[in-house]
């Protein structure tokens, strides 16, 4: 799964980033050094420039017609100046010498006295490309894109007469970034990101339910068509809606919970991942703070954050500070072994950056964020896991989750779940919200399947108002007890 692209090509990426981001504003790599010097004011110990340009395209089908299409161009430069724990930040939607000087002076105003440090000479480190540096929007004509959406509509409507509404969307982003920092960092990346989504409403006997499915990753839109996602996600969305039409009210109370493989890994994202981000641990505000080297999960539980997976939605060849994306073990066999770090928090904690610095755009400050977070497989046979439960819940898909990293409490809402009765999966249930405490829940993991799967590429993680694409994954997992928030007490 960790296969790199065959030809490392930092130079090509760099040339393309320079041509795309710098040349139009009359800048070159030397003028970036000049720009960076503005941000390295008195007392500033680190500064960086983040240049970005993105092209976002979106097509939406409703009522069998593609009625909406939109195109968005965004771009600019974000300038940070740091002094100890202090950060000054300014940005501009122009990438020009004036913008660099203005934003640099503004950011440097975070401190007003101290030594003036220089900018280290450019140092381009070898980078392994985790995805092809391409424009994912080209290579498929507008007519082809529309045809894909219409295919999804036809397939969904043909799948079952109960389907009354179908909407489908195709979106893609072509993003070019260039990072230059006072520590010598110079790194470029071209990040494609595409996604296809289908949502249906099915109605029967006065009941209405929704079903949805989708996926994508860091590759060309044309691959979505080659892989037949329009048909696949249309059928999957209908299947889910039909299951929900049969669903009974969920139980309320504490029961054993079996989570299916793939997307239910959102549990790890909420229950473990956020609590292991460097900023919360440096500030001591995470329930996991100060627990490095301690047992925080059952034996057998190994959780990693992995930016290196080929073509995955959460992958990054380099992060938004120019650090190469990495594979970081967070929990190994139940023991806390790693935090996710950006440069600021790594430095303040005396650790090394882990390539987890991410930002929504040039107009946002980077923070430690997850990439693709998943649990490694165990030895159990999924059927045995189900058979081991007398009365419990089997949850296979989720709408979304949230965590309070200080108390460790997390919540996530099932969009497809079933009762387990006497070791068999029986009636589908609706409205099941699961709630628990991160470290506690991880200590109740009692069986781990051999069927590790990654999600299809739909995750968006929000933190302090910034959204970034992420991936999750896990094998089938059994938690001995978790609170299910249904209505049937």
């Amino acid at each position: 799964m960790n296969q790199p692209f065959p030809e490392p090509s930092e130079q090509t990426l760099l040339d393309e980033a320079v041509a795309t981001l710098l040349a139009p504003g009359g800048l070159d790599l030397d003028s970036l050094d000049t720009g960076l010097a503005h941000a390295m004011g008195a007392g500033v110990d680190f500064a960086d420039l983040y240049m970005q340009r993105s092209w976002h395209e979106s097509w939406v089908l409703e009522d069998g017609e593609v009625k909406e299409g939109s195109y968005n161009i965004d771009g600019g430069v974000g300038v940070r100046a740091m002094a100890g724990e202090k950060t000054g930040f300014a940005y501009s939607n122009q990438i020009s010498p004036d913008a660099l000087a203005d934003s640099g002076h503004t950011a440097a105003g975070i401190v007003r006295s101290g030594a003036r440090l220089g900018v280290e000479p450019r140092l381009v480190k070898p980078v392994i490309e985790r995805y092809a540096g391409i424009d994912p929007l080209s290579g498929l004509s507008a007519a082809d894109k529309i045809e894909m959406l219409k295919t999804a509509d036809r397939v969904a409507r043909a799948a079952d007469p109960a389907v009354t509404q179908v909407s489908a969307s195709l979106t893609g982003v072509h993003e070019v970034v260039l990072v230059r920092a006072s520590d010598g960092t110079l790194a470029a990346d071209i990040r494609p990101l595409v996604r296809f989504n289908v949502s249906v409403i099915a109605a029967r006997d006065g009941r209405r339910e929704r079903g949805s499915a989708g996926g994508g990753g860091r590759f060309a839109m044309s691959r979505l068509r080659e892989e037949g996602v329009a048909e696949r996600y249309a059928r999957e969305a209908v299947r889910q809606a039909l299951v929900n039409l049969e669903a009974v009210d969920a139980p309320a109370g504490q029961v054993p919970v079996v989570l299916g493989p793939g997307w239910p890994g959102i549990l790890l994202h909420e229950a473990v991942g956020h609590g292991l981000e460097g900023d919360f641990n440096r500030k001591g505000s995470s329930a996991f703070a100060g627990r490095m080297g301690q047992r925080v999960a059952s034996p057998g539980v190994t959780v990693v954050d992995d930016a290196t997976l080929a073509d995955r939605r959460g992958s990054m060849s380099v992060d938004d500070e120019g650090t190469p994306g990495a594979y970081t073990a967070l929990i190994e066999d139940g023991i806390l072994t790693g935090y996710m770090q950006d440069k600021l928090n790594a430095r303040l904690m005396g650790m090394a950056p882990t390539g987890n610095a991410r930002r929504e755009s040039y107009a946002h400050m980077p923070m430690p964020r997850m990439t693709n977070t998943y649990m490694l497989p165990g030895d159990d046979v999924p059927e045995d896991i189900i058979r081991s439960v007398r009365h419990g819940l089997y949850a296979v898909s989720f709408g979304g989750g949230q965590v309070d990293i200080t108390s460790g409490k997390f919540v996530f809402s099932a969009s497809e779940a079933y009762l387990i009765e006497d070791g068999r999966i029986t009636a589908p249930v609706k409205g099941a919200t699961l709630i628990g405490n991160g470290p506690e829940a991880m200590s109740r993991v009692s069986m781990i399947g051999h069927d590790m799967e990654l999600d299809t590429g739909i995750g968006v993680c929000g933190k302090e108002g910034q959204g970034v694409p992420v991936g999750v994954g896990q094998p089938t997992v059994k938690l001995d007890e978790l609170t299910v928030g249904g209505t049937q007490s």
Binding site: E65, V66, K67, E68, G69, S70, Y71, N72, I73, D74, G75, E85, K86, T87, G88, F89, A90, Y91, N93, T106, G109, I110, A142, I146, T164, S167, I201, A203, R207, R208, E209, A250, A252, G253, Q254, K283, S285, A287, M365, G400, G401, Q402, T406, S407, G408, K409, F410, V411, S413, K430, G431, A432, T433, I435, T483, G485, G486, T487, Q488, S489
Partner: protein, 446 residues
């Protein structure tokens, strides 16, 4: 260190750019066109443990163009409202309209409905404060909170102040623009005991800085909220009354508004499809919109279609009196727009208000919920199940904090089971409401 912002000049510039975009769309063959543009500028300061953590100067702009060719539509937007970017956006929108399909409901709102006059709604109160003053506000807030006994850590205090201009124009000849400002202060504090840590926050946010709460009061309140959560237990599982604090009650009104929004209705993605005229709430409950209330957070004289805004009554004596519609969703439903393109602006309740004590007495025993987590609201079915934290109530009195439980029900039942509204109205957001007491929900805890 703050940058100068000449709102009048920015407004004139955006207006001329919007008109240029309309001209260009006409020249390129668009039958109709609409343009939205905005510029916002501000400062955002955060402090933690008595030290400045970050200072951020923001300046965002954007322009969005939608063109109509016959019944086809195309849209494009850019984060740069410069002339070249606008030209490119119009060309992109035209290119897209070449591929999209016919939509009989597409097009601008009727010309006769455009807002005729744009009164000053008293929403622009710029605050020319220095960065040091901004820092001092945040520091005063955090310091006061940290001085409260039992506060062990801080996630910091943030102060932000900004102003901006937004313009909407369309090929009916309508051009509306409005300046606005917003100033906010928030604080997150952490309390700790042998059982672990608890965090909570408080904030104040206003268009007019003179109305902001005192920084120290916000900090102390955040501290008290965090402290009050220490020692939380899990409530027992069962069916019982649930009271929502004012902020969370506003969220319930938000779910109602999502369900009566035209977009959800024509997509059949609402549990209130065909709900018009139905009795949803007790007879004593009325919910209205006052989009032109002077000084209010969401006030505007025109909606996102350029249509004049008017007072709407959505719930009248318990009945669903009106949906919330834009020009497009109204056409889809064969109805008239309610001037709600872009959503509801300033919602207010009309109901007999009671003291919190009186509501708690009415409740007897149950839970008073002060925080909700997760996204467990299904707009299609009205099914509601969310993570919660708050206080256990017995004999009409708060007993002790509770956490790690869920509350579940169906929004229809919850609305019908509304037993009372508190006089503890939260006026910070666009929806003003006091606490809500709901007759019965399922609590899942231990």
């Amino acid at each position: 260190m703050t940058q100068a912002f000449d709102a009048a000049a920015q407004q004139a510039l955006l207006e001329s750019r919007a008109e240029a975009a309309l001209d260009q769309a006409r020249r390129l063959g668009a039958d109709a066109c609409e343009v939205g543009a905005s510029v916002d500028q501000g400062v955002d300061v955060s402090v933690r443990l008595g030290e400045v953590e970050s200072i951020e100067l923001s300046r965002d702009q954007g322009i969005a163009v939608t063109v109509y060719v016959g019944k086809r539509k195309g849209s494009a937007s850019s984060s740069d409202a410069g002339e070249a970017s606008i030209r490119a956006a119009v060309e992109q929108a035209m290119a897209i309209a070449h591929y999209t399909g016919d939509d009989p409901a597409s097009g601008l709102a009727d010309a006769a409905l455009m807002a005729k006059e744009i009164p000053d709604l008293d929403v622009h109160h710029p605050w020319p404060l220095t960065t040091d003053e901004a820092i001092n506000h945040a520091l005063a807030c955090e310091t006061a909170g940290r001085e409260v006994a039992g506060i062990s850590n801080s996630d910091g205090a943030s102060f932000s102040s900004g102003e901006g201009v937004r313009v909407y124009a369309n090929s009916h000849g309508f051009l509306g623009s409005q300046r606005g400002s917003q100033h906010s202060l928030s604080c997150v504090l952490i309390a700790e005991d042998h059982q672990g840590m608890q965090r909570d926050y408080d904030y104040t946010s206003e268009r007019d800085p003179r109305k902001l709460r005192e920084p120290a009061e916000v900090g102390v309140s955040a501290a008290e909220r965090a402290l009050s959560r220490l020692g939380a237990t899990r409530p027992v599982t069962g069916r019982m009354p649930v009271m929502f604090d004012p902020r969370l009650a506003s969220g319930l009104i938000g779910h109602l508004m999502s369900a009566i929004a035209g977009g959800a209705l024509y997509r059949q993605a609402s549990f209130l499809c065909d709900g018009l005229g139905q009795s949803l709430f007790p007879e004593w409950f009325t919910l209205k919109e006052v989009p032109r209330e002077p000084g209010a957070i969401a006030s505007s004289a025109f909606d996102n279609d350029g249509v004049y805004t008017r007072d709407n009554v959505f719930i009248e004596n318990g009945r669903l009196a009106s949906y919330m519609l834009s020009a497009y969703s109204a056409r889809r439903l064969g109805m008239e727009t309610t001037g709600n393109a872009g959503g509801a602006r300033n919602l207010r309740l009309q109901a007999p208000l009671e003291s919190r004590e009186s509501l708690l007495t009415k409740m007897g025993s149950g839970v008073f919920v002060t925080e909700l987590m997760g996204q467990g609201v299904n707009g299609v079915t009205g099914d509601y199940s969310r993570g919660a934290a708050g206080f256990w109530v017995e004999d009409g009195k708060l007993q002790h904090p509770v956490e790690e439980f869920t509350i579940a029900g169906n929004l229809r039942d919850m609305f019908a089971g509304l037993m009372g509204v508190g006089d503890d109205t939260d006026t910070r957001g666009s929806i003003h409401s006091g606490s809500w007491l709901i007759e019965e929900m399922t609590v899942a805890g231990s």
